[in-house]
Point group: C2
Chain length 344, copies 2
DNA sequence: TTGAAAGCGCTAACAG
DNA sequence: CTGTTAGCGCTTTCAA
């Protein structure tokens, strides 16, 4: 068990060359004789030499680390995204720092910390945030590369799905089944996360209805706060209406789970009495036999991380087509919670 | 927008003192005149000076970063643990690096990387791993502080729950309801995660049965692989027995969800025909009205992170009682899936 | 193709 | 109480 670190100087001495040559040789830089390179490599592995990351980082100014900021660790969606980001980092040899910022204040703290952040990470994946101009300016002047996940913000590269299309697909499916009175379970919260998402999905949904000549009763909306419990409450309030909907579109599967339970508790048959449709294809959606518009959040994380790493690391420049916006596919997964409208 | 970093030298020059004094003053070290300290602080914040983390890390050899290694990012349990760890890191001013290692090979890769890992993190939280002697040796000789989550391994500080007690509580509850033929849905996988957990829970369960004078039919076991689908299959096979159980204990809520669905599909009433009990108190357990033995994985993460940080950072030495083993509470949450046995 | 030497920005003895 | 001076370990001109 060696007690002292073996440094580049040790290798240089043992190989009978200068540290500069060792540095070049080991990093595969040009202008090193084949023989010297081989010799140095041998000596280095012999000594179990590995370059000290901190020294390298200080000298180069790059950390081979990216950060991923999410509103909430531990939620299904965010956990999937982070998993995707991590997978890419692991394969690219990057470290991944995760931070959660669940409020606009915490987000600003982070932005104010941009100067030191810049030294700790080469870039940031910001998941589902609405960045203020100040936030954006802070990251920009600190020189931190940012890729955003979700709706576009701050003029950064954005990867996500087409949320309006999600709403359209949902509406379309329900319309085809003959539904006209369709309830919507969404959210009116805009701080700090998923800000534009509910509105985008809802608007796509409304547009599709309008295109079909159906005018949507704005009262058929209930706030489910993107939670299971909220979904249940929302469904309950929808069912309490004098003229309840024949179908309900929940903007997330978790809200749909709650909604389903509430409907069952109310003695309703699904889809006999009321159809239900969610978004996500959560891992438990199949179990609930929930029809849903599927997305793949881990693929979003993968794509975002690739875009980011391609921008900050010249070695990975060509791993991916660097673009300003990548839109990942969604698709309707028909299961058992939607069916033809029951004519009264 | 300043283009060049402001260094400690700039501050020293502007304040008319030496860099050493600036360093001491800003870090709150003793032996600095009150007046000088105040002056330096003023100048520093005036210049928006912040110490470069990388330079500090190289000079001190400490990174104020901890790592968290999990078998699988994106699973409910692990996401909760990571969330707890992150919360503590954020409040202690530590960065958190997350890595997933889903196989024994990836785990060994990580251990082999211990020398550079040691420079990048001050310590590691290893979640639900069975560390080999080689792994342990690698971390030890690299001087990486480790706290393990789950069952004890490698002689490191361990934080977790009493899994045997979990099994006992479950058995006890079912016994009190009069059940004697109780099925067990568990897992026989041991690599690389949750290794000892299923066995510990199962053994506690069996011991409680034995103490109650019930001899447990070993055929009443089915492998659910800790997944929803696996739980469903396991339940199906249990129900296919010539003499099926009157109650089933699933070693995790997710398996219980699947089991519940399978039972319902088979036309059985819960708890009328068969009782069902899980472990975790997953966020969706209430929705399924599932009786379960609750644990709080994010609290586990919090506790583990505190133990680790107290060990690696003298400033946080007293934040927590440093011990070798912390056991967090679990409790039975009675809901609607368990009921008295139906005498035939 | 290789080496010498000047950083990168901070900390930590050691003097004074 | 404060300043001087070596490092920390690697990268990167600039010469040779």
């Amino acid at each position: 068990m060696e007690r002292t670190r073996v440094t580049i100087e040790d290798v240089a001495a043992a190989a009978g060359v200068s540290v500069a040559t060792v540095s070049r040789a080991l990093r595969g830089l040009p202008n090193v004789a084949m023989s010297t390179r081989a010799h140095i490599s041998a000596v280095a592995s012999d000594l179990h030499y590995v370059a000290d990351p901190m020294a390298t980082r200080l000298a180069t100014g790059r950390s081979r680390t990216i950060g991923c900021v999410v509103p909430l660790l531990g939620g299904w969606y965010f956990a999937q995204v982070v998993a995707g980001v991590e997978a890419v980092c692991a394969e690219a040899g990057f470290d991944l720092i995760v931070q959660s910022a669940g409020s606009a204040e915490r987000l600003s703290d982070l932005a104010n910390d941009a100067p030191t952040l810049q030294r700790r990470v080469d870039g940031l994946v910001m998941v589902d945030y609405a960045l203020t101009d100040d936030n954006v300016a802070a990251f920009r002047t600190a020189g931190i590369e940012v890729v955003s996940v979700g709706a576009a913000t701050g003029g950064f590269c954005t990867v996500g799905i087409d949320d309006a299309a999600v709403g359209e697909m949902a509406a379309q499916h329900l319309i085809e089944l003959g539904h006209a009175r369709i309830g919507l379970i969404g959210s009116t919260r805009t701080e700090p996360f998923r800000f534009a998402v509910p509105e985008l999905r809802a608007s796509g949904f409304r547009i599709a209805l309008a295109n079909a000549g159906i005018d949507h009763d704005p009262h058929l909306f209930a706030d489910g706060n993107f939670s299971v419990g909220g979904g249940a409450e929302a469904m309950t309030s929808l069912l309490a209406m004098s003229s309840p909907p024949t179908a309900v579109f929940a903007l997330s599967d978790e809200m749909a789970f709650g909604a389903r339970r509430a409907a069952e508790r109310a003695g309703l048959d699904i889809p006999g009495d009321i159809s239900l449709l969610g978004v996500d294809d959560h891992e438990l959606a199949a179990l609930f036999d929930l029809t849903t518009v599927a997305q793949d959040p881990s693929a979003v994380g993968v794509s975002a991380a690739r875009q980011l790493i391609a921008r900050v690391d010249s070695e990975h420049n060509d791993d991916v087509h660097v673009v300003d916006r990548v839109v990942l596919p969604t698709r309707l997964v028909e299961r058992g919670t939607t069916g033809p409208v029951h004519s009264a």
